[in-house]
C-alpha cells in the first residue's frame, strides 16, 4: 500500500505543487491543511505516515502545529517545508522533533529524497 502524506501550507499554489511532486513519487495524499490548526486536526483524523509542514501560516504557525502533533503522537514524522531558514528556526524545529527541514524554493527531487529517507 502506498504511504500517505499530509500536506500543510497556507498557499494553495504550494499545496498543489507538493501534491504533484508526491503523487508522481508514488505517495498518496492523506489530506491538505491550509494552517497549523487544520493540520493537527487532520493528523488525528487521517493518521498519515508523514506530514509536510510550512511555518508561516495564519491561525496556527507550523512550529506550534509540529509540537501539537508530536504531543498527540510522539512517533509522528514531520518535515518542515518553509521559506525561512534561519538557524534559530531550524534548531527549534529539530528540538521539537522535526525529521528534516527543507527551505523554499526547493527542487522536487529534494522533497522526494527527504520523504523517501524517512518513510521509504
Amino acid at each position: 500500500m502506498a504511504k500517505r502524506v499530509l500536506i500543510t501550507d497556507d498557499a494553495l499554489f504550494m499545496r498543489v505543487t507538493l501534491k504533484n511532486i508526491l503523487t508522481k513519487g508514488g505517495y498518496e495524499i492523506a489530506g491538505e491543511a491550509s494552517n497549523g490548526l487544520e493540520s493537527v486536526e487532520l493528523y488525528k483524523q487521517t493518521k498519515p505516515d508523514l506530514v509536510t509542514m510550512d511555518i508561516t501560516m495564519p491561525e496556527m504557525d507550523g512550529i506550534t502545529a509540529l509540537k501539537e502533533i508530536k504531543k498527540a503522537d510522539p512517533q509522528a514524522n514531520v518535515i518542515m517545508c518553509t521559506a525561512m531558514g534561519q538557524k534559530s528556526m531550524v534548531m527549534e524545529a529539530v528540538a521539537a522533533g522535526a525529521r528534516d527541514f527543507i527551505v523554499k524554493p526547493f527542487q522536487p527531487e529534494k522533497v522526494l529524497e527527504a520523504v523517501q529517507k524517512i518513510i521509504g
Binding site: 497556507d10 498557499a11 494553495l12 499554489f13 504550494m14 498543489v16 508561516t56 501560516m57 495564519p58 518553509t82 521559506a83 525561512m84 531558514g85 534561519q86 538557524k87 534559530s88 527551505v103 523554499k104 524554493p105
Partner: protein, 155 residues
C-alpha cells in the same frame, strides 16, 4: 531607514525569481518614498516582526502578475483565480522568508507574517509616515516587480 535592510530582499528576490520563474532579473535604481504606498495594480504585502519590523511589498502590473503566475504554474493562466493569486503570494513569502534568513545571519532576528494580496492602485498601506525604499527589478519577457521596503529597528 537603513539601506542595509533593503539588500537582503533584493538578493533574495534575485535567487528566488531565478529558481521559480527561470529568468535572470535586472536591478533598477533605488529611490525613496516619504511613506509606504504602492501605485502598482497587484501587490503582495508581507509583514516583518522581530528586531527589525515593518512591511515589504512586491508590486506589479496585472499583466506582469499574470505572466509571473503562468511561469510559476508551468502553464498559461486563463483567469487570475485563487491558484494564481496564491502563486504570487507565495513568491512574496519566499522572497521575504529568504531575506529574513539573511537578516538573521547579519544579527537581526526576525520573523515574517503570511502574505496578503491587495489589488488596486495608489494604495496607502500605512498611515504612519515611515519612509520606504523602492528597488524596481526587471524580469525579461515578464515585466517589472517593485520591491518596496519599509523597515525600522524595534523601538
Amino acid at each position: 531607514m537603513k539601506v542595509e535592510y533593503v539588500n537582503p530582499f533584493v538578493c533574495a528576490a534575485f535567487s528566488v525569481i531565478e529558481m521559480v520563474i527561470g529568468v535572470k532579473p535586472v536591478k533598477g535604481t533605488l529611490t525613496a518614498r516619504p511613506s509606504l504606498f504602492t501605485s502598482q495594480q497587484c501587490n503582495v504585502i508581507t509583514g516583518v516582526t522581530g528586531q527589525v519590523e515593518g512591511q515589504v511589498i512586491y508590486g506589479m502590473s496585472l499583466i506582469t502578475a499574470d505572466k509571473v503566475a503562468s511561469a510559476m504554474l508551468g502553464q498559461p493562466i486563463r483567469t487570475f483565480d485563487q491558484l494564481a493569486a496564491s502563486a504570487i503570494g507565495e513568491l512574496g513569502n519566499m522572497i521575504s522568508g529568504n531575506a529574513s534568513t539573511a537578516l538573521a545571519e547579519a544579527g537581526f532576528q526576525c520573523d515574517i507574517t503570511p502574505p496578503s494580496i491587495v489589488r488596486g492602485t495608489n494604495v496607502k498601506i500605512s498611515t504612519l509616515n515611515i519612509p520606504a525604499l523602492v528597488v524596481p527589478v526587471m524580469l525579461p519577457d515578464i515585466g517589472e516587480i517593485e520591491i518596496i521596503v519599509s523597515l525600522q529597528d524595534r523601538r
